[in-house]
């Protein structure tokens, strides 16, 4: 991926955007049922405004769904992509070329 910035940016888009949509869905679902005022943290009522809980929860949902998307993207890589040498051919160290079994990869 290092050698191809377009691939990285497209993968980021695949991970970030669907996660954003699903975080929005989760936010609506969860807070339709839960009033932030009723939440407790370690036995004591949560001392945060509803706006604060909505905002923080949205980003927590987003990050977690992003992790899920990132794992899917990782597992969707083909064996060839996983096996190949990630360093572009022209920036590989000299010694690497001799004994690395991946030297032949692009």
């Amino acid at each position: 991926m290092n050698q191809d910035p377009t691939a990285l940016s497209q993968r980021l888009m695949w991970i970030v955007w669907p996660a954003f949509l699903m975080a929005g869905v989760l936010e609506i679902l969860v807070f339709a049922l839960v009033d932030p005022v009723d939440l407790h943290w370690q036995g004591a009522p949560l001392e945060a405004s509803r706006q604060a809980v909505y905002t923080v929860a949205f980003f927590v949902f987003w990050v977690i769904t992003m992790v899920s998307g990132a794992l899917t993207t990782l597992l969707a890589m083909s064996p060839f992509e996983v096996n190949r040498c990630p360093v572009p051919r022209d920036s590989r160290p000299e010694a690497c070329a001799e004994d690395c079994p991946r030297q032949g990869t692009p």
Binding site: D4, A32, D35, R50, Q51, P79, R84
Partner: protein, 488 residues
């Protein structure tokens, strides 16, 4: 991997072990690596005028007047449309909704989805070309870009050239205008969730709440990034609809199409040349259809998932056809069947009503009707019943058995409502606590309700009872189940 024992199984060589030498990439992998991820080239869409462009501007104005204007609209003493997240009340003109009215949101989503399916089946990506915020804000941002940096060729020349004072000035003013529109959009967005008049006052006095500031900037920068920089990338790499829209397409769906039979073979020619002697089609290969395309595709290659159905290519091709004196419509809004079978406009339109479309209409109609009926028959209050946790059951004065319940009554109107609670399910059961409960507009209140029943004739154990709650002057009644306990 014994191929001899299983001669029919196809063996896929994954990777050879290191001792057999270096791992060789599959043949052509070098090329494949590049083609897997199409390299991103910046697209400079050329501005265009014409029939579809006019329609797009009309929908840009319409949608944005609604979006920017709606929060400022007053209804009685309050904002007409306000999703008050802080108070967990949702106001839509005369309606006051609680989070418990979630079903209506589901209804709206189902209606939106089926409307999208219906429009897509009939006329392709109408949503994408005319109403999607991504298209609408990109259109606005492109207009600002054209005003500050000029049209396609001027922008390309300036971007390729060195930094001059003029370039700096033009770029700065473009980003300033973009940011102004974006932040105004963010502010409006927040105004749907926080009363916008107050928000405006706080904004002028530089006294906005931290969460409001955060979301204004978050939404503002999302607009700035998506409409200013990401643009067609959003449609190509981020939009799920772009990937599944073809599932709703068939050969009678109206799409932007190139009439290849008429256009090919394409080629340049002198303006005076007689078409009949040239052995050329109507396409003069001016490439303007590619230059105006916001997603940078060539419509002459046929239907592609990147095509957002904006019709810019059809508009520009019509102006070219006018100029060279050919008939319009080399690139036009038509169906696959109509093009291949040379249908007239009327014949094409006759194919709009087909089973797929009728099914979408039927489902949509059912959901809309159900939702309208449900809204019309909605009882303007809600009740939750909870047993009082403190007292299970006790013997009251006169030997009667008493249970205490807690009822949450939610007033979903903007006037004070008076409620009367009755109870049934066991003989001789009655409410003995205060029974004329006034609840102020849009408020919810927990009310302790004491229910007594006669001691004799009731078996020990749990009995199902029903609370009936009626509002003064309202026809609707709410019935809620509860359990009455008789001690041993």
């Amino acid at each position: 991997m014994n191929t001899e024992s299983a001669p029919l199984r196809k063996v896929i060589p994954i990777a050879e072990s290191p001792d057999k030498g270096p791992i060789e990439p599959p043949p052509g992998a070098d090329a494949e690596m590049v083609s897997l991820y199409e390299a991103h080239k910046k697209i400079y869409p050329r501005s265009v005028t014409g029939f579809f462009s006019n329609w797009r501007w009309a929908t840009v104005f319409l949608t944005q007047i609604v979006f920017y204007g709606l929060p400022w609209l007053e209804w009685g003493q309050r904002q007409a449309v306000l999703f008050d997240l802080g108070a967990r009340r949702f106001y839509i003109f005369g309606l006051v909704l609680y989070p418990q009215d979630f079903i209506y949101l589901t209804g709206i989503l189902v209606i939106s989805a089926f409307s999208l399916f219906l429009f897509t089946a009939v006329a392709g990506r109408l949503w994408c070309g005319y109403a999607c915020p991504q298209t609408v804000y990109t259109e606005i941002f492109l207009w600002l870009e054209k005003k500050t940096e000029g049209d396609r060729s001027a922008r390309m020349r300036r971007d390729a050239g060195p930094w001059t004072l003029d370039k700096l000035w033009r770029k700065t003013s473009k980003h300033f205008l973009w940011l102004a529109v974006a932040l105004w959009t963010g502010f409006t967005f927040v105004g749907y969730f926080t009363p916008i008049h107050e928000l405006g006052r706080e904004f002028i006095q530089l006294d906005m709440g931290s969460w409001e500031i955060f979301w204004t900037f978050f939404y503002g920068f999302a607009t700035y990034g998506n409409a200013g920089f990401m643009r067609e990338q959003v449609c190509k790499h981020m939009c799920p609809y772009a990937r599944f829209q073809s599932a709703m397409f068939d050969k009678d769906t109206l799409i932007v199409t190139y009439d290849a039979a008429r256009g090919e073979p394409r080629g340049g020619r002198s303006k005076k040349a007689d078409l009949s002697t040239l052995n050329l089609g109507a396409c003069i290969d001016c490439s303007l259809c590619v230059q105006v395309c916001p997603t940078g595709i060539d419509i002459r290659k046929g239907l592609q998932y990147e095509c957002i159905g904006c019709g810019a290519c059809a508009d520009v091709c019509d102006t070219v056809m006018d100029k060279v004196g050919y008939a319009r419509g080399l690139v036009k809004y038509s169906t696959e069947n109509a093009i291949s079978q040379n249908w007239t406009r009327a014949q094409t339109l006759r194919h709009v009503l087909r089973p797929r479309v009728l099914i979408y209409i039927a489902i949509l109609g059912t959901v809309v009707t159900a939702m309208a009926i449900s809204l019309a028959m909605r009882i303007p209050f809600k009740v939750d019943v909870v047993r009082d946790r403190g007292a299970l059951a006790r013997i009251a004065e006169g030997g009667r058995i008493e249970n205490v319940f807690r009822l949450q009554i939610m007033n979903a109107t903007e006037a004070t409502q008076r409620f009367h609670i009755s109870v049934e399910g066991l003989p001789g059961l009655s409410v003995v606590s205060e029974n004329d409960i006034a609840i102020a507009s849009t408020q919810a209140r927990w009310v302790a309700v004491r229910v007594q029943g006669p001691a004799e004739g009731l078996a020990p154990g749990s009995h199902t009872i029903h609370f009936e709650i009626a509002a003064e002057g309202s026809i609707g009644k709410v019935s809620e189940k509860a359990v009455f306990i008789v001690p041993r």
